[in-house]
Amino acid sequence: MFGIGKKKAYTGLSRGTRIVRSLTLIIPSIVMVIMIIIALFANLGWIGLPDVGLAPHDPNSTNPRDKLLPPSFIEGGKSDYFLGTDRLGRDIFSRVLYGARVSLSVSLIVILITAVIGTILGILSGYKGGRTDAFIMRVTDVALSFPALLLAMLLWVAIGPGYWTVVLALSILGWAGYARMIRGESLRIRESDFVAQAQVVGASTWRIMFRHIFPNIVNSLIVIMTLQVGMMILAEAALSFLGLGITAPTPSWGSIVADGRSQLDRAWWISAFPGICIGLVVMAGNFLGDWIRDKLDPRLRQL
């Protein structure tokens, strides 16, 4: 009845499936590379070169005469402003290009910080076991279920808004996901013969943790890190959208969407385009993560 529970026999992949499979790698990779190029070369001023780059305008220069212009491919748009302008006459295209910087750099920094902390705690928890494990896992449970948004608000009140406030808000809780995964892996590896042998010859705890267990969890770690790219970009965008992110006038995708809210009935393009960018880059990150997971560590697959 309806083929419930039956599995198709594995007959090798058809040509069509193979093409689709490779597209799910190629397209996301291209999107990611483009986004990274945009983030790096929106302008070159920051690496000491002349202040030119991909962005046609200064993202913050206002042009009262060119207020609320529609995108250039729509009637009434100027060719100068590819994606239109906002209520101050700022170029949306340039703002979106610059916005890639905030999104990508915040998520990259947060991922590096949380991966290091989460890996150390996860290995420690899995390898040591006992009280250490119980304690670290209790804290992990709390960190996993505490809303990052409230922490971001608390930090906003306590240390004020800024780039590092956002990084801190996302990092303080973000390590927990890694810790839980890595702990599970370490528990399994702890039982291996090579760990027992290392213990017999008198290797120190730290040596076993980092010379013997760590190399065996690197694959899982890379998978989790890639899958986190999208989540962190979304988290940063949500904070910026609420006004809890990087402060104006620095453009970030979330804050440009928020800017456009009051103009929704006259200028839909302000909110629409940065949101599409977020969706694209997050989707690319998720697809890449899935692909890497299937290659490196299919056990992590959620069916």
């Binding site: 529970g5 505490f146 990052a148 948004l149 009140v157 609420l242 949101g275 959620q302």
Partner: protein, 307 residues
């Protein structure tokens, strides 16, 4: 079991004190709270008066003790800007938030269980592909943006639904829909994979070999076991619930707790933010405690492993 519960409750209390210490000192270590309140044209006398009324003239140790004592009595302090007790502010805004979160939560659960189970049963069917597609989209698109685009389409262009306010049922459609988008994709995926796991298990094969009708295999034997995993991670839905409520209230000008705390944050009204953070911590620990006990009750292995 009793020992397990007692240990857990004690651990939760210790954790709560730990969080209280962190929150309390975070607000103070980073700078004098007075610096957040004081305006340049305030006289020295006014400054001292405010400082005393907030108890900021005492030592940190004393302040912490007072803060803990007040909290234990249910006194969450007073807003700096509104000059109202925080409890009153919560009392005013909580019902509106519940009107939004309760239907969203219930609908998300029903939808995700229904869609997840169906996708698992009819694996690789058109239905399953549809669910997977929705999950991929739902986990990639920023929900606040989807909500704004929905406003653009349904309120601005089609004029079918109101933009803001809460007077008629139609006012609930977009805000509740927004909140559902925060919870549905992840939960749906989890239910699906959990159901797939169960359908693949030995006892389901056994039930089939016995010749039970497919209907009873799925709805009686499989479903019950498939629900355990999603139920135990319900605690982890809290962050999405909070984020969903704040964003939804913000977009649709909903006068709930999300709007209230966001405003308090921008006004740097630290007693309000601090109290709501503490209340959330209590909620988080409480949910975790309940889930743990529930889990241990369902699965005895946990009791011995984690006590």
């Amino acid at each position: 079991m009793t020992r397990f519960i007692i240990v857990r409750i004690l651990q939760a209390i210790v954790a709560l004190i730990g969080i209280a210490v962190i929150v309390f000192f975070l607000v103070r270590v980073s700078g004098d709270p007075m610096a957040l309140i004081a305006s340049p044209n305030m006289s020295e006398e006014q400054y001292q008066k405010i400082k005393e009324s907030l108890g900021l003239d005492k030592s940190w140790g004393e302040q912490f003790w007072i803060y803990i004592k007040d909290m234990a009595r249910g006194d969450l302090g007073e807003s700096l800007i509104r000059e109202k007790p925080v409890t009153t502010m919560i009392g005013e805004s909580m019902p509106n938030t519940l009107k939004l979160t309760v239907p969203s939560f219930v609908l998300s659960m029903i939808l995700s269980f229904f869609l997840g189970v169906m996708a698992a049963i009819y694996r690789d069917s058109f239905w399953d592909q549809g669910v997977k597609f929705l999950a991929v989209l739902g986990q990639a698109l920023p929900v606040f943006w989807v909500a704004i685009m929905a406003v653009l389409i349904f309120s601005v262009y089609l004029e079918w639904l109101p933009v803001a306010g809460m007077s008629t049922p139609a006012h609930y459609i977009l805000p509740v829909g927004t909140m559902i988008l925060f919870m549905l994709p992840g939960m749906m995926r989890l239910v699906r994979s959990s159901m797939l796991d169960v359908l693949d298990s030995e006892y389901i094969k056994m039930a089939r070999i016995k010749g039970l009708p497919e209907r009873s295999v799925i709805w009686k034997h499989a479903l019950r076991n498939a629900l355990i995993t999603p139920l135990t991670i319900i605690g982890m839905l809290l962050p999405s619930l909070v984020l969903g409520a704040v964003i939804s209230e913000q977009i649709f000008n909903w006068p709930g707790m999300g709007t209230m705390i966001l405003q308090a944050t921008f006004e740097r009204d630290f007693p309000v933010v601090q109290s709501i953070t503490m209340l959330t911590a209590i909620l988080v620990l409480g949910i975790n405690l309940l889930v743990d006990i529930l889990y241990a009750y369902i699965d005895p292995q946990i009791r011995y492993q984690r006590a």
